[in-house]
Symmetry: C2
Subunit: 710 residues, 2 copies
Amino acid sequence: MTKNLDYLFYPKSVAVVGVSRKEKSIGREILKNLIEFGFDGRVYPINPSAYAINSIRCYPNLSAIPEETIDLAIVVVPSQYVKAVAEEAVENGVKSMVIITAGFREVGEKGKDLEDSIHKICSDAGIRTIGPNCMGVFNGNQPFMNGTFAPLQPLGGNIGFISQSGALGVVVMEYATALKLGFSKFVSLGNKMDVNSNNMLEYYAKDEETKVILAYLESFSDPLNFSQVASKVSKNKPILMLKSGRTAAGARAATSHTGALAGKDSVISAAMESSGVIRVNSVDELFASAMGFLKSPLPKGDKVAVLTNAGGPGTLLTDALISLGMHINTLSEETQKRLSEVIPPEASPLNPVDLIASADADRYTKSLKILLEDDDVDSVIVIFVPPLMIQTVNVANSIERILEEDPTDKPVLCCFMGRNFLMNSQLNFKYPIYEFPETAARVLRDMYIYSKWRATPSEESVQLVPAKNKTAVKKLIKGALKKESDWVNQKTVQSILEHYGFSFPQSLIINSLEDLIDASGKIGFPLVAKLASNTISHKSDKGGVFLDLRTNDEIIFAWRSIQKVYSKARVPNEDRSVLVQKYFHSGVELALGSSYDDQFGHVLMLGSGGVLIELIKDVIFRLVPVNRSEAEKMIHQLRSFALLLGYRGEPESDIGELISAIIRLSQLVTDHPQISEIDMNPILALPKGQKPIILDARIKLAKVFNHSKP
Amino acid sequence: MTKNLDYLFYPKSVAVVGVSRKEKSIGREILKNLIEFGFDGRVYPINPSAYAINSIRCYPNLSAIPEETIDLAIVVVPSQYVKAVAEEAVENGVKSMVIITAGFREVGEKGKDLEDSIHKICSDAGIRTIGPNCMGVFNGNQPFMNGTFAPLQPLGGNIGFISQSGALGVVVMEYATALKLGFSKFVSLGNKMDVNSNNMLEYYAKDEETKVILAYLESFSDPLNFSQVASKVSKNKPILMLKSGRTAAGARAATSHTGALAGKDSVISAAMESSGVIRVNSVDELFASAMGFLKSPLPKGDKVAVLTNAGGPGTLLTDALISLGMHINTLSEETQKRLSEVIPPEASPLNPVDLIASADADRYTKSLKILLEDDDVDSVIVIFVPPLMIQTVNVANSIERILEEDPTDKPVLCCFMGRNFLMNSQLNFKYPIYEFPETAARVLRDMYIYSKWRATPSEESVQLVPAKNKTAVKKLIKGALKKESDWVNQKTVQSILEHYGFSFPQSLIINSLEDLIDASGKIGFPLVAKLASNTISHKSDKGGVFLDLRTNDEIIFAWRSIQKVYSKARVPNEDRSVLVQKYFHSGVELALGSSYDDQFGHVLMLGSGGVLIELIKDVIFRLVPVNRSEAEKMIHQLRSFALLLGYRGEPESDIGELISAIIRLSQLVTDHPQISEIDMNPILALPKGQKPIILDARIKLAKVFNHSKP
């Protein structure tokens, strides 16, 4: 929904409603910013009791402005008058509004009602609105509009910024300005009554002046849409996002197994990862990365060559790169030979290439050129620690020169250590320059991850399950929903999952010891005997699971123990069933499931099974739908991935079948959104040619289902 | 060894040997720095062909200086002349030397020989020497000596700095100066021919002007001593260390199981942790932490109160603190009540305390005072995001005032966002101020960890093993060393460990199937049968381990399978023994061992057992000897610690017995340093009242043992 947003950023006429004569008041600052930044249109101050402000004629209200409809009204009147201003705006055909005023949704129920009524007035009239409770909007290009009350004039440039917080917006502007990074547009969204971050992502996607999109968010207002919008936008422009609330939210009380692990923040990270958004952890990371994305091409691979004049920082950089998953590869013999021709014998042509302290601009540029010509080098990080006789600025200038004379599609990131140079000159260069090796390493990694994302072709989600099975499951769910419990009984669980192509081991539900002994004859040892209840969870904790039973004696013992657990839980006699199934000695235990998040909808979860899942939280999340390449990435991201490749003499698991299981689960919860929770734990990955086998599964249904996917 | 180091930092007379008339030459820069920094003694330029430099009379050589012995000679002559200068220095009774000149050990064998011969000349005469290949020494107090060639004048202050690298030394000086942090002393050690980092740690420990010790190291020259020296020094003064080479070294080829995991860097981290040294990851972390340690008392606990005027940064800070292991505790009702009296109703007295945007200096100081008076608050972090009408400097000043009027022993760290203030004023304040919440959080965590270290009383290492057992093991090792293999046979392994109080399950070594069946009768099912070879490693990978055998059929199958493995490995018939022992269903599998590091000596290792140890690298290292509190800390640091507390209905393990096992292992390798490798994997932690049981153990002895502990 980017309709009419242009009026907010490209107005011909701006009215500042409620501007006061008082210096340093918010309205006055906005007026001042508009004028000083050189707004290329007409500004109308609105104040019923002033004759003129800043030598500009004042109007008592919007209606009093002659012969002109206002494109943008920036409203700073106290909250109790905002509604009247909105009504007046509608009457006078105002095209868009920014409501700076605070005191709405954020102060409680009454404020929320007032905000809602204003929203209705504006949206009925088709007026797009930013805020309330925000710091304004900014356009760094024609018509040069600084419609914010920031105490500085930001620079024009190519960053499209979305800030939820006004306070942090000012900080961000100051920070960017100090780094000489400019904005194409800047918007502080405040309460997001109308325009939200998704709208802005779409708008920036189409905005030619925006090359990189940066966002600071505290919450998502339309999370279900976020992933869809962001993944489309990020295929063309990088989105860097700082999202606060990492841990506090994660500590929220847990309701169930999967639910507990899927703390909000994992879901948010999953949403970002699913949609190619680069998540950063602080304001300085945000701008360090922005500088890289703005001033450098993207790396095509992860192989980095390092050029340095000092060993120590070279090692610090190598450490950082390797621990971030990048590679410092051995240079080809040809490259080493060519380097040896331009560096002294005490220097080292290995990677990191140590030019030693005597390296001047000439040695730097010659070596850099050689590295860039090596097909096995995807990017170069240059470190320069200023020795006595050599000026940083000379090295910096000559690098700029060769990058201009002989443009490369490989990133060249520089780390010029020493404060004095950085403070003065860093930012006038056309390539990214950092103070510390660790920063350069992190930025390059972010650029590489984004580059991979952009290179992955968009995939249609795969349909692996026939329509008739979908219909059958629909019926099963409808039936289950009619009954009391929200947990589905075991038989139905199995049937639902089998319709979606999942396998269970041969198993029998048994109600007497006699039947149990018969069953063991049918299935054959070794066996598993399990308490078969859909209400008792954490069965193994309670002594309700017996593995690897090999004799009748052991089976009898298991039966008796399970009955004791039932007695303790006061389960009626007729419900005390026991499930027997084949025991598997080999295979890799995994957990596969999905839970429903209020904000983002269904979240898929793949994790190590058994003790590992809770102990080391080896769990990967993704929003549904999950396509083939995302499913594969989930598996590779498991810390226990090595187990699947065959560990300590065990055979390799069938990864293809595992991918297909993930896709089928994704389809199951997409087709039947009433499944609010599903847990296959453990599900056993088996060797090549075999489907994974579900050893235990639970499904919970939501009786009332509020969300509808767009 | 801090003898005579005073001459290096407090000389009355300094000769600069080899100073040239050329501007910007190294010698000339040193002379200039000495003069400009206001050296409070006499400077003698030495140059055979100059009449005067900098209007100061030149002398042709050290001998020509009349009526005075030189306290410090700073040598910048080319490397081939340094030896002659050293000889002349000895002749003339020079007290100490700094050799700036490069071209020694670092360029190869010939340089090393030259360096060694110079070292001999100086040390025979008792002359302490810094360098060669360094950037000089600095004393920020009386006699105000800047004997470096850094292109700036650093400030005097309370940081004692040790830099191995000259290049990074200059960067560090620039960085500190920009932050207005000053040095008590600064030394660049270069090749560390004589004075090394341990000497400097001891020297700074005694130096009254040094409050915090900072070090940048690339290697340890006397690692065996490091831990001893550092742990003593750090009980009085914090040591912050940046050590490069984290990953490259870790990638070094592995020689054995324990060896592989104990990559150099884990050992270095273990050495730092064992000795209370705070390890940082970059130059900016180093100085951010230094500022905290210098300008603030240490926190007594981990409970942090946050005071902010903006929600977003407050959440960012909370995120950072919690993920670093600090606590944001709920404030007492009393404190909340008191806060409510000084903040407006829309503000929040919870923690983080949100003063909202209208908060001025007065609201800040009143709230801060209340928080500091709460006994349940160990430290406070204040965030201020500048709104329009309120100046950062006013808030900053009033915080300074209340901290002066009413001094507190609790840390107050501030985060004043917004570049403009920081660039100009941050550094004139007497308390630490940071730009970003994440930095403040990390610094406070470092301070808390150090505070805990300092509060832990030094412990004598415990002796749990009687002397006669030590003697018995001495004999066993002597006997084993006479034989061929460096791996000790199983019987001796068990005997050694039993002498040190370790337990094994009842087990028998069996050479025929008949004996095996007899043995199963004696021990009782379930059983483990294992290939009993001291040459074949990774037994389970090769199919040589059978667990949980419950019937004669299963035993026979195991016997045959093991014999097949033996055949395949062409083990002679008479050596094909099988070990049978009791199988334990419960208990927590751990790995406990020690390996010998060339630099640091014996390193203890405690890890999760089984698959976990290699998959998630859940391993904790410490240098020996390990005392009780360190052993306890190792156990708590395990990621799988939860398993030991009793997981999913399993009983709690006996932690006390585990601590004692770690101490006994520490004693074993201390008493018998020939044990170059020992692996107890798995060792089973058992419930309360039971000692851990070793299920498999290997010991390797070093025939030649070069190191001797001091």
